[in-house]
Symmetry: C2
Subunit: 252 residues, 2 copies
Amino acid sequence: MPYDPSAFPPFAVTVDLVVLTVRRHALCALAVRRGEPPFQGCWALPGGFVRADEDLAQAAARELAEETGMRAHDPAVPVQDNGAHLEQLATYGDPKRDPRMRVVSVAHLALAPDLPAPRAGGDASNARWAPVEELLQQGGYGRDGEPVAPLAFDHAQILADGVERARSKIEYSSLATAFCPTEFTVGELRRVYEAVWGVALDPRNFHRKVTGTPGFLVPTGGTTTRQGGRPAQLFRAGGATLLNPPMLRPEV
Amino acid sequence: MPYDPSAFPPFAVTVDLVVLTVRRHALCALAVRRGEPPFQGCWALPGGFVRADEDLAQAAARELAEETGMRAHDPAVPVQDNGAHLEQLATYGDPKRDPRMRVVSVAHLALAPDLPAPRAGGDASNARWAPVEELLQQGGYGRDGEPVAPLAFDHAQILADGVERARSKIEYSSLATAFCPTEFTVGELRRVYEAVWGVALDPRNFHRKVTGTPGFLVPTGGTTTRQGGRPAQLFRAGGATLLNPPMLRPEV
DNA sequence: AGTGCTTATCGTCAGGCAGACGACTATGAT
DNA sequence: ATCATAGTCGTCTGCCTGACGATAAGCACT
């Protein structure tokens, strides 16, 4: 079939972001309130159109910066500064996913430490960190008894896929450190795993595992007592990317 | 920002396919010869435009059927018939990846048994199964001493990503059975792992591992001797999707 | 029929790792 | 001083894996 510009239909291409963080022992995602129809007033994932001269990763990094002020760092470089981890998640292109027109959305997954306060175009009331469990329970009732509106478009599916990706990826990679500040303790890292997986882990076995995996953690020499109790050693993320053998999510 | 149809640039959206199979102890991918510029005469991955009313998965399944005659089966259903496994791989959207226009390609990964003969629009000379190793060695020389032209566009990157996905996915899932016919022996399954990973595995430990994993293999009662040697039991793929604990790729 | 080759299948053994859990340490709060 | 809280180090046991010996059951020869 020869090249014919009229042979293909035009699409709009967007990037949507699943930005995850751990706050107060819960896995949370960034949600923004929609200001215009469709789904006006609903919560949605942050995102926007890909520009004409932009790569997909660039567009995702730009949106991340616009929504959170975070800078995404190069995926090839280990987590060191406060830049968030950013990776492509999956692409969603159901013909009816956007009632206005044919939109293909390339979803990206970002993992960030707890520090930044959300800001959507400077308006904090239109962006929030919400526990993913709360965002995903569609049509139910939240902790305050108020009915919970489901996320706009197919964003619940995208969020669920992103959460599942994060849950499985911290098993066999050192990505859990992306949820931590530059310096952190073994206990803080353990609480990240516990929040993401929603389980309790044995502190002693966890400590043995992570400190025994070469390249996972690098001691900085300092200690901290910000969690109370005995002072804990501080670590930075080491150069290792893949954990072998992996961390094992407890059964059942 | 209110909705404005002129606010986003139009894209063409395609699906490209990494179709993998195991032939003669080698991991092979389906390549088609391009009949028109750019990259006329070069080998490329099969693919095509997504139609206006089509989901991405539908488009990928349609292209797969057009190129190979295979039917993709529902990903939620375990591999049983001769339908190939099909899953989304990643999306490639560099502004310059296609010199003609802005094209975003949603790559899919298909795993198929060895049976089908390639056909590209009925013309067999324009499609072939090539060892991935041969397709990926850009600018080198093939086994016949002829110079090897690299794949068109960014298809070498897409193929490499697909191969890596397949290599890692057979570790922790039962997907290797997608490379096998409906009924197969433990030895045939082992040769799949050996071809995909490019390593030699101990037949005794492999046998113990796969037959000891609940739900991985279901004996059909029959035996075969098509590999020579002692007759081997025949199995079908069981219902298990995730292997726990996983198959381990040998180190080094 | 016997020999040799090939592949399949079962068994054994030692090392490593994970889960369960005891014990001790070092802080802050009362 | 005592307690509560976290962190860290050990021990033990069971499971899984890698290495590898041994046997089984076909086919192709002679």
